[in-house]
Each structure stands twice: as C-alpha cells, then as structure tokens.
C-alpha cells in the first residue's frame, strides 16, 4: 500500500462574520485597546475560571464567528487524485487555502510529504506590462519554481502554450485565450509532489481544456498527488480516484468518486433552492417563480422522460410584446438548448396579474450531467437557477455511459445491410436498429 502524501487531522478554521477584516482602521484598533483596558481584567478572571478559550468564544453560537471548516480529517495517498466537492460555502476553498499554506487553520493540523504547489487561480502574478517571457519566469517563481527549473523547462512551456511568436509581446496584448494558455502551460510544468488545484479547469477553450485535463492525468500517473476542487463534476468524475464531500464546513463523506458524487447529487437536490422564488413587485413585471419539474423527486431527471419547466410571472400592468425564453446550461456553463415563447407566437401577459407559463419537453435529449436554467424576461436574466441533474440510470447499454461524451443525444435510425459480394443492389437481410429501441429495452 502506498504512503499517505497528505494527512489532515481535525482541521478547523474560524472566521468572524461580517468582515474578514475585523479592524480596518488603526483608530478602531485604538478604540478597542481602550475598551479592552477596561474590560480585560474582568475577562481574564472569567477566562481563568473557565479555562483558556480563544478570544471571542467561537463555541458560542450567538457570537459572530462561523466555522468555515470544522473538524475535517482525511488522507490522500501518493499518486492519488482526490476530488473535493460541495456547494458554495461548503469550505472547499478554505480547505485548499489551508493546505496550500496561504492561511492558517484555527485548530487541527495537516501533514504534507514533499513539495506542494497550489494553483488556485490561473496566472497568479502575471503582470500585463511584461512580456510573455518575463511572465513565464514571474509566474513560475510565484508558483515555487527556481529560476534554473524554469530555464530548463522554458521551451517546453512555450511549446505547450503555443505562443512562441508572442514571447516578446507584453501580455496585455494577448487574447484571453492566449493568456490562459500561457498561464496554464507554466502551471502544467510544475513538478511538485503534491498539486492543489481549484476550479481552474473550467476556463479556456475546450481544445486546450482537454490538453490540460490530459496533462493533469499524466501528473497523477507519474506518482504525484493531486487535490482537485471543481464545480464541474464531469471533470472530477474523469480525474479523481476518490472524493470527499464537504457541507457547511464538515466532512460528509469520503469514498470512491462515484459514491461521493451520487451522495452529492442527492444532497444537492434535497436543498431548497432547486426552485427559484422572488417577491412580486408593484412597479415592474418579473419572474416570481421558476421550477424544473423532473421525472424524479429532488430535481433528478431520468433521460427520456418528459420534462416540464414552469415559470410564473407577476405583472402590475398589461404587457405588449412580452418575450420569455430560457436556456438549459450544462455544468461547463455552455447553453445547450434555448426555448422561447413570444407574444407574437401566442398572446400572453396582456393583462395585469399572475400568469403561469408551462413548457413541456416530451422527450428531452439532454445528456447526463448537471444543468441549470438561465431565464430571460424583459431586461432581466436569471442565471444558474433551478439546478437539476439528468441521469442515464434507466438506460443501460453495453458500454457504461461516460460523462462529457456529448451535449445531447439524437434520435436516429440505423440500417445495417449485408452487401453480397457478387451484387451491390441487394438489400436482403437488412436489420433496422433504432437508438431509441436500444435505449428503452431494459
């Protein structure tokens, strides 16, 4: 069995609510010192009675502290890729920041074996005024490479980034794609024993993304340990050997990737904000409710079943030429379908009041994965609402479904003919296969 490369023991991190910076101004500090001089003797006596408790007792639920991370323990073995999943605010980034030693834990400890490089952002330290060449050195050094190392890998980095021609151009003239490629190329040539990556794969053009994901796989196969945070569950599913799931700062589960992702999907769909709700307005028409009605509870949709999108709009006045549309957006942020209804198609919202719009898709072809809605109404856009997940669970096929194979499936028919060698016209013995047929036989 391999050795652990990362070992985390009861790690906790406490922040003050309100501001991350408790005292912006020196004057406020002076004020606090003054106050403390009066209160401190009393507090000391109090503390002496209770035993040592950190300043502003974080165990007191009423106090303005919150635990971004609470008592988290896990291990990662050498050569393993660990995915870290959880909703926004679950503590993923805090965990990575602690492991990357950017911030300190409040309690607990962690052990690391070997050099650590963290990639919490692509192109940290890039300076727009400097040339591509200068920025490779700068970024490399910031990420922990020595000048010698960068020098040794320089040509490789440039080749990976495909920016040879612009090496002496200030980076501010780069396109965002070039910028990204150069930045990732530097990061991809780090050779730490432990690599900590946050959400950086979600950017860049798909072609280059693929290259990066490939490179990450290589990094892991070469015996390095990778800790990976991403909202893109597909890339986690592709890369991670094991996953941990964080929720509200606590470790909910640690297991193989498929199990954890399932747990995560379930927990995600149990949450309340799978529908969108907003208060009516006296002044302007607006969407007050949006929901995706999926085939299974918890915004889980089984492929092939009818899918319904329900929008409710309240308007204080009659509207002329109302337009409503929405998109299904996949986990990579790409809209994969756009559906709409305009007043010119069918009259709507022509009176003040509360209206319900229901869009039924009889046989949606969205491929497995997570989706959200972008809803467009008037001048407003509601982005990333009503998360739901499409599952292929009911659709067994000989090969397991892989995430990211495509954006949607198409109904099609296949004809298979045996072509007699002596005659080219024979259509005898043909078999007809339909995708639908394969999919629905179970």
């Amino acid at each position: 069995m391999t050795r652990p490369a990362v070992r985390v023991e009861s790690l906790s991190k406490c922040y003050r609510i309100g501001s991350r910076e408790p005292y912006h101004r020196f004057s406020e500090l002076l004020l606090r010192w003054g106050r403390r001089a009066i209160i401190a003797p009393r507090e000391w006596m109090h503390r002496a009675r209770l035993g040592a408790v950190p300043n502003g007792n974080p165990h007191d639920p009423a106090s303005n502290h919150f635990w971004a991370l609470k008592d988290v323990s896990f291990e990662v073995h050498e050569g393993e890729v660990l995915g870290i999943v959880g909703r926004n605010g679950a503590g993923k980034s805090t965990l990575l920041k602690i492991l990357a030693r950017i911030t300190e834990p409040t309690a607990g400890r962690f052990g690391l074996r070997g050099r650590v490089a963290s990639l919490l952002e692509v192109g940290t330290g890039f300076h727009p005024e400097l040339t591509g060449r200068d920025n490779i050195y700068l970024n490399g050094a910031v990420l922990g490479m020595t000048r010698k190392e960068i020098h040794r890998k320089f040509d490789e980095i440039v080749a990976f980034a495909e920016t040879e021609r612009f090496l002496e151009t200030p980076v501010k003239h780069y396109s965002s794609g070039m910028h990204m490629r150069l930045a990732f190329a530097v990061a991809a040539h780090l050779e730490p024993e432990i690599l900590i990556v946050d959400e950086v794969l979600a950017v860049g053009d798909p072609e280059f993304q693929k290259k990066c994901i490939g490179r990450m796989g290589e990094v892991a196969r070469s015996g390095r340990t990778v800790l990976l945070v991403s909202h893109d569950l597909n890339s986690i599913a592709t890369l991670a050997d094991r996953c941990i799931l964080l929720h509200a700062g606590k470790l909910l589960s640690a297991d193989n990737t498929a199990t954890v992702l399932n747990t995560y999907a379930e927990s995600l769909h149990r949450s309340e904000d799978t529908v969108y709700e907003d208060a009516k307005s006296q002044n302007s028409p607006k969407v007050i409710f949006a929901a995706v009605e999926t085939s299974s509870p918890g915004n889980l949709h089984l492929y092939g079943r009818p899918l319904r999108v329900r929008l409710e709009i309240a308007t204080p006045r009659a509207l002329a030429n109302a337009r409503v549309s929405f998109q299904f957006v996949n986990a990579r942020g790409t809209p994969v379908a756009h559906l709409w209804t305009f007043d010119s198609d069918r009259p709507m919202l022509r009176s003040a009041g509360h209206h319900r719009l229901v869009c039924t898709i009889d046989s949606p072809r969205l491929y497995m994965g997570r989706y959200t809605l972008n809803v467009y109404f008037g001048e407003t856009v509601l982005r990333d609402i009503c998360p739901f997940e499409v599952s292929m669970r009911e659709m067994p096929r000989e090969l397991p479904w892989q995430p990211d194979t495509c954006a949607y499936l198409e109904d099609a028919s296949w004809e298979i003919h045996d072509v007699p060698t002596d005659s080219l016209e024979g259509a005898h013995g043909s078999k007809h296969y339909y995708n639908e047929a394969i999919i629905t036989t179970k």
């Binding site: 069995m1 050795r3 652990p4 070992r7 922040y15 991350r20 910076e21 408790p22 005292y23 912006h24 101004r25 020196f26 004057s27 500090l29 323990s73 896990f74 291990e75 920041k97 990357a100 030693r101 950017i102 911030t103 300190e104 834990p105 409040t106 309690a107 607990g108 400890r109 962690f110 052990g111 690391l112 074996r113 650590v116 963290s118 919490l120 952002e121 940290t124 330290g125 300076h127 005024e129 400097l130 200068d134 050195y137 700068l138 050094a141 910031v142 990420l143 922990g144 490479m145 020595t146 000048r147 200030p170 941990i244 606590k250 470790l251 909910l252 589960s253 640690a254 297991d255």
Partner: protein, 288 residues
C-alpha cells in the same frame, strides 16, 4: 451523516510527513524558508524595475531627474539665502548629492516596501511564500535607481574636484546600513499597512518628516549644535548618511556617535519588526 473516513485509521502516522498547524503567535523568522525563495525575491525585484520604467520615454533617466531636480532647488534656495549648511571645505552640490543618493535609496525602499503587501494582494491570497519576500524584493528593486544615482554622484564629484580617499571602501557598509534601516521601518509599515489602511497615508508624511530630520541637504557637523547631537543621533538614518558622505568624500571623520547609536537602535527595530511581521503574517491572507 457524520461518516468519518475510517479506511485509513490503520495506517501508522509516518515520520516524514511535514506537519503544519496554527503557529505560535511569536516566533523567530524562518531563514531557511526565506532562502529557498531567493529566486522569487530576485524575480519580483526585477519585475518592479521593469514595470517602473516600461512605457516611459526616457526610462531609467527618471532615476536621475528626481535627485537632480531636488539638487537644483536646494542649491538655488541656499544660494538666495547666501549660506549653505555644509562644511566650508565641501562643495554644497557634492554634499547634497551624497545625501540625496542615500535618501532616495531610503525613501524609495520604505515607500515601495511598506506598500508591497497591499500591492501584491493577488499573490498573498493565492499562493504561499514567506511574506517577507515582498518587502525584500521591493527594497532590492530600488538598488537599480541607486546605481544610477551613484553614477551621477561620481560625475559631480569629478567635476567639483572632490576625489575619494581610502575611506571609499566603507561605502558598502553605509549602503547596507541604509538598506537595513529602510527594511526595519518598512517591515513594520508593510505589516501595519496590510492590517490597517491608515498607514498608507502615514508613510508619505513620515518620509517628509524624515527628510528634514536627516542630514540630507545639510551636514550634521555644520548645522546641528553639538549639545543636540546625542539626541539627533537617535535617527538611525543620520549615521548612514553622514557616514556615506564621509566615505565618498573622505572629508570630516567617521561619525562614531551617530553610527554607534544607530546600530543598536536598528537591531532593536529590525528584530521587533521581524517578530511583529511573523506574528501578523499568518493572518494577511484573511485580512488583506
């Protein structure tokens, strides 16, 4: 659902994991860690220099204009006054240039380094490195301007016929002294500026005061009454500038008093600064 991973409970804790936890608040600065990041110091210093003079027409010549302009202003001012606050044997221009070169080194280091943490927030919140790298790099980057100033000083000395003596071998000592004084102050100010934004406004003010209480445009021996000199020597920059002037021109004598008082003061400021910096370093990423 408090499922803690029990799978690895059987693995004995291995010896060669390096452990990290919340640090003790007061600790000595970790020099080996800093040394490991020496390349980063150099590259960041280089970045500062390149960025400073990129997209300027005359580039590095800006490093000449500042002290030259000050020199002209004070020469005219004291010319009108009819009296210069330097020893009679010393041309005012040479004396003042000696002071300005050191002053420029000091003030640029302090103002650059004291803002270095705030200016590099994007680095501080995204990657680990010893935070001391930032003020160090800022100070190092100023040496380029200093070299330009030195060239100008050499030209002035030759044209005014002030030739260096053997004392010139002590120049590096006084330059180092200036850098350390700047660093000691900048370490305090950079940490304080990162935590309390007030200090951004304090720094220019402090520098202006420091300019006049240091022997930049005057010589201590020519202006400060002897009875005040022990008190005056409490300014650690006084020793550095007086000493530098002596080392370059060979005139006067080694400023034993000011340097003697400077060094213990400097040691105190530097060590407390490093302790304080180390103490608050842990929270920069959360508070900056």
């Amino acid at each position: 659902m408090e499922a803690r991973p029990t799978v690895h409970a059987a693995i004995p804790p291995s010896a060669d994991l390096v452990w990290y936890s919340a640090r003790r608040p007061w600790a000595v600065i970790d020099l080996t860690d800093l040394w490991r990041y020496r390349d980063l110091v150099a590259i960041l210093a280089l970045r500062d220099v390149k960025v400073r003079y990129r997209q300027t027409i005359i580039g590095i010549a800006w490093a000449l204009i500042q002290p030259l302009a000050q020199l002209v202003i004070f020469a005219v001012l004291f010319g009108l006054l009819g009296r210069t606050p330097v020893e009679p044997s010393m041309p005012f221009v040479v004396s003042a240039m000696c002071g300005l070169v050191v002053w420029q080194l000091f003030s640029q280091s302090v103002s650059g380094a004291s803002q270095s943490l705030v200016a590099n927030t994007n680095l501080v919140t995204k990657v680990y490195f010893p935070r001391l790298v930032l003020p160090l790099a800022a100070v190092l980057g100023v040496l380029v301007d200093f070299a330009v100033g030195m060239a100008l000083l050499a030209v002035l000395m030759l044209s005014f016929g002030v030739l260096p003596t053997v004392a010139i071998i002590t120049v590096p000592f006084f330059v180092l002294l200036t850098l350390l004084v700047a660093l000691a102050i900048a370490i305090w100010l950079s940490a304080l500026s990162a935590l309390y934004r007030d200090f951004q406004y304090v720094v220019p003010f402090l520098l202006q005061v420091a300019f006049f209480v240091s022997p930049v445009i005057y010589q201590t021996s020519a202006l400060i009454p002897a009875t005040w000199r022990p008190l005056y020597a409490l300014n650690p920059l006084a020793g550095a500038i007086d000493g530098f002037r002596w080392a370059m021109s060979g005139q006067g004598h080694f400023p034993w008093l000011t340097v003697g008082v400077s060094i213990p003061l400097l040691a105190l400021a530097l060590s407390t600064g490093l302790l304080y910096f180390r103490r608050v370093e842990r929270t920069f990423a959360d508070r900056i």
